[in-house]
């Protein structure tokens, strides 16, 4: 009641205009997304990044170089179309026939590349004066006292015009028909003489150009910086989901609804993150309502699949030698370096734990997640608030943190039961943003997040041994990491691993073989979140303090990218991933390249890797290695053969020879 009472209803008409305008911009971004998805079947996670980069081109042309705003817009449209063409021609087309998720991963690589490049060129956080296309002077809406800016009016008209124009082209023109044919079945379309490549390229160019328009229009309305603009893609996704990723009119309606739903909470609450909470709730609701199993869309998602066989049995003696050598190196080498590097090494092993959590979830069960740092945040902030705020001792706090992470992981897993692939990716991004911009933001839950200050966590002692020194703490994290790796390896080679892989391959066959698919999927989410939570809990004393900035969506994205690059199906990859993610930027400080460029490098490697070695780098090495050291046969002595009884109804001429 207090909230409603404190609301200023006089703001309602003004906020309605703002909300509808925001909706118009979301619609513009979403139309491009839907066009690309409908024709090429790729959900373009880089759509926001393309909008962002194009908007910065307009900024460069108009604000910096002083040309008229219209020239800036034109430059942005050209830039957007060109980027769209580059993405399609050189990174999506080579993946024809591969699983939709591979293509999504490539677009995530582009997201990282474009975002980082824009940050390097135009500055990550600096103030950028937006390109004002149309005057903000307005007119009074007939019959009311509401003032509508000409810029707002233009935005809404352009959005509606492009939406219905695109719908009309798809519906009534020959080229639109061939676009729909390509969307339905590219192979058949090719057989009927449609130039599939051209149609796809056109859809990417047109969709990206629309994204560019959206980018230029939105810059006066949100923080004009690379990250905020890139994340507009989430709102575009939400709008597109309301239109089932196919219907353009419904996408526009969804976008308007979303714009209003994000704006109205400001009447009640000063918490800037409230809009994000609304987006999250809408994503969840839309996914739950629209995407029931068995709808055509979901089936289409399941159609393509990357076929990656499980590595053959390895050679145990050789493996043991290598593992022992790696552990030995891991113990000795840090002794040669300073405390700073020892701390970095400990940090990299903790990040390795987060990569390991993806090995369970993505590698075994095949469920993608872009919110692993949110699970880690649960562990870290539980430890932080209990140790820093309530004077708990570290170990019980860590235990509780891991348990809470498992709980949250299972909760996230429940909507994920119905989703897979792309939709799960969207869901987990929504979860990450919900944590990032709402739950951990100052003012929402300060007793947990610490508000604007951060929690201080001292390093504990273990069995009477103080872990305060860098090397002692490093050894401790090494031990934890090795135990976790061993546990996950045990998991992957026994019943649990087989069951999870079986679920990834065929849920229906797993269920009819007696596997409780629901329970196992939730289990894998729980185990994965528990591992991430453990990492978060260790990160608290590792860094010494816990603050929200360290557990953002960007980190989740980077760790997922790294996990895919190093090979998410291999337990051994976890260590490599952690080391790469932490020591990579460190290495860059010794080169002329800025450490800020690191995500660009990660993104580029990600794109190349998906195209060149789909299994990931580490499994690729392992496969080569196994060729050198072939495995021993799994069963040295075959068990007694069964006696097959003579078969009825058979004549002598058909004697049983079931040899192949």
């Amino acid at each position: 009641m207090g909230i409603v009472a404190s609301a200023n209803w006089g703001l309602l008409p003004g906020y309605t205009v703002i909300g509808i305008t925001l909706g118009g911009i979301y619609a513009l971004a979403a139309i491009g997304l839907v066009l690309i998805y409908r024709v090429s079947g790729v959900l373009n996670f880089a759509q926001g990044a393309v909008s962002m980069f194009s908007a910065f081109v307009a900024y460069q042309v108009s604000t910096v170089m002083g040309y008229p705003a219209a020239v800036g817009l034109l430059a942005a449209i050209v830039a957007g179309g060109a980027i769209g063409y580059l993405i399609e021609r050189f990174t999506i087309r080579p993946l024809a026939g591969r699983a939709p998720l591979s293509k999504v991963v490539v677009t995530i690589g582009w997201l990282l590349v474009l975002q980082t490049a824009a940050g390097l060129i135009w500055g990550q956080t600096a103030y950028h004066r937006p390109v004002q296309l149309v005057s903000i002077q307005g007119f009074t809406f007939p019959g009311t006292s509401v003032v509508v800016g000409w810029d707002e009016f233009t935005t809404i008209v352009v959005a509606l015009g492009l939406a219905f124009g695109t719908a009309a082209v798809l519906r009534w023109t020959t080229f639109g028909t061939s676009m729909r044919a390509v969307a339905d079945d590219p192979v058949a379309a090719r057989l009927w003489g449609i130039n599939v490549n051209r149609v796809m390229a056109v859809s990417w160019v047109a969709g990206s150009a629309m994204g560019a328009i959206a980018g230029v229009l939105i810059t006066p309305r949100i923080n004009f910086d690379p990250i905020s603009l890139t994340l507009v893609v989430i709102d575009a996704f939400t709008a597109a989901l309301i239109g089932r990723l196919t219907s353009l009119p419904w996408t526009v309606i969804g976008a308007m609804f979303l714009g209003l739903a994000e704006t109205y909470p400001r009447i009640f609450s000063s918490n800037a993150g409230a809009g994000n909470a609304v987006t999250f709730a809408l994503v969840l609701l839309t996914l739950a309502i629209l995407f029931r199993p068995g709808t055509r869309l979901v089936q289409r998602m399941a159609a393509g699949r990357d076929y990656v066989p499980v590595p053959a049995a390895d050679n145990p003696p050789v493996r043991r030698v290598i593992v022992a050598a790696a552990i030995g190196v891991g113990i000795v080498i840090p002794l040669l370096f300073s405390g700073y590097y020892q701390s970095l090494a400990a940090y990299s092993l903790i990040v390795g734990l987060i990569v390991l959590s993806l090995v369970v979830l993505t590698g075994l069960t095949g469920q993608i997640s872009f919110c692993q740092y949110s699970f880690a945040a649960i562990g870290a902030f539980t430890v932080g608030s209990l140790v820093g705020g309530h004077g708990w001792s570290f170990w019980p706090a860590l235990l509780l943190g891991v348990i809470c992470s498992i709980g949250i992981g299972v909760l996230v897993g429940i909507p994920a039961l119905r989703l897979s692939g792309l939709f799960l990716a969207i869901l987990t991004i929504a979860v990450a943003l919900f944590f990032d911009h709402f739950l951990l933001a100052p003012g929402t839950l300060d007793s947990f997040s610490g508000g604007v200050s951060s929690w201080t966590v001292a390093r504990p002692s273990f069995l009477g041994i103080s872990l305060d020194g860098s090397y002692a703490f490093y050894l401790f994290t090494l031990a934890v990491f090795l135990v976790a790796v061993l546990a996950v390896w045990n998991l992957s080679r026994s019943k649990t691993g087989r069951v999870l892989r079986a679920i990834r391959n065929s849920e229906i066959a797993a269920a009819t073989s007696g596997v409780n698919v629901t329970a196992w999927k939730l289990t894998s989410f729980g185990v994965s979140a528990g591992l991430a939570g453990l990492a978060g809990g260790l990160l608290a004393p590792g860094i010494g303090s816990v603050s929200a900035g360290a557990f953002g969506f960007q980190q989740s994205l980077a760790v997922a990218a790294i996990a895919i690059v190093v090979g998410v199906r291999s337990v051994g990859a976890a260590a490599v991933g952690g080391i790469f993610l932490i020591f990579g930027p460190e290495l860059l400080t010794h080169t002329p390249i800025s450490t800020l460029a690191f995500p660009l490098i990660v993104g580029s490697i990600l794109i190349l890797q998906v195209i060149l070695t789909p299994q990931g780098v580490v499994p690729d090495w392992q496969a080569r290695f196994r060729k050198r050291f072939p495995p021993a046969p799994r069963f040295p002595t075959a068990p007694e053969p069964l006696v097959v009884e003579p078969m009825p109804n058979l004549t002598a001429s058909e004697a049983p020879t079931v040899k192949v």
Partner: protein, 271 residues
């Protein structure tokens, strides 16, 4: 003979299409029942209703005297109902042996913690399960492919492996959905032999859907014929072969005789 499976007035529709319209039949313990009918007659839908893949049918399906209605697919599997799929649903990335291990895994009661820590019980059960799976692998004569990812195997071997996986469930009831589709004449003949030895060795009750009349005639004790979601005929193979309603269902009214093969050795795929 005791009734193992009884369908009582089962109906299922998708939108306006009545895939099953009041189908009733009985399957006795130990018999091999054939279910035939033209494409789209509702055979696979019937399988999906029995195994719980399609919830929401009308009517009742009793298994061993128990109504299956509220049971999930995995719970029905635990009642020892196994099936194969028309469009092969193997775990493509898993090796042949691991595919066979899966039903055994599903039935084992140990949890994640035991696997994480690799407790002695895990090691012991793994060994036991591997021996069992190995025996089935030998039975279906796929020993040489134990470690091959099954996505790499030819269709004939995949079909056999799917039967093997179903056998690992130690089923009382085995539902075979067109095990002969995509097989050549020699492979079909091997399949017939395999099915006969499955029946002889494991004493399993089988429900078999296929278009291959020769296969059906050779293996089944009794045949039901479905057409447009209705049971149109029932009886022993010889009787079904000559039943005018069946011939009409398959061939329409105009042509009448001689196309449904009477020679068991030729594998004429009808429909």
């Amino acid at each position: 003979m005791a009734v193992l499976l009884q369908a009582d007035d089962v109906s299922m529709s998708f939108g306006g299409v009545h895939a099953l319209a009041g189908v009733s039949f009985e399957l006795h313990r130990g018999e091999t029942l054939g279910l035939i009918g033209p494409n789209g007659a509702g055979k696979t839908t019937m399988f999906n209703c029995i195994t719980g893949v399609l919830p929401g049918y009308r009517g009742h399906i009793y298994y061993d005297g128990r109504d299956l209605r509220n049971l999930k697919p995995h719970q029905r599997a635990r009642l020892k109902i196994a099936r194969t799929f028309q469009n092969l649903e193997l775990f493509d990335e898993l090796s042949a042996l691991d595919n066979l291990l899966l039903p055994l895994d599903a039935f084992s009661r140990r949890g994640v913690l035991g696997d994480l820590l690799r407790l002695p019980r895990t090691v012991f059960e793994e060994r036991r399960a591997q021996e069992k799976a190995r025996a089935i692998l030998h039975f279906i004569n796929l020993d040489d492919w134990a470690d091959t990812p099954v996505g790499d195997l030819p269709v004939g071997l995949q079909r056999r492996l799917e039967i093997g996986r179903a056998l690992c469930l130690e089923p009382q009831l085995l539902l075979l959905d067109e095990p002969g589709s995509g097989l050549d004449a020699r492979e079909t003949s091997e399949l017939a032999r395999l099915l006969a030895s499955v029946r002889a060795r494991f004493k399993i009750t089988m429900l078999l859907v296929d278009h291959d009349m020769a296969l059906i005639m050779r293996i089944c004790n009794r045949i039901y014929v479905l057409d447009y979601g209705r049971m149109i005929a029932e009886g022993p193979p010889e009787q079904i072969r000559d039943d005018p309603r069946v011939v009409r269902a398959y061939l329409g009214d105009a042509t009448a005789t001689g196309v449904v093969s009477t020679e068991p050795a030729t594998s004429g795929a009808v429909g």
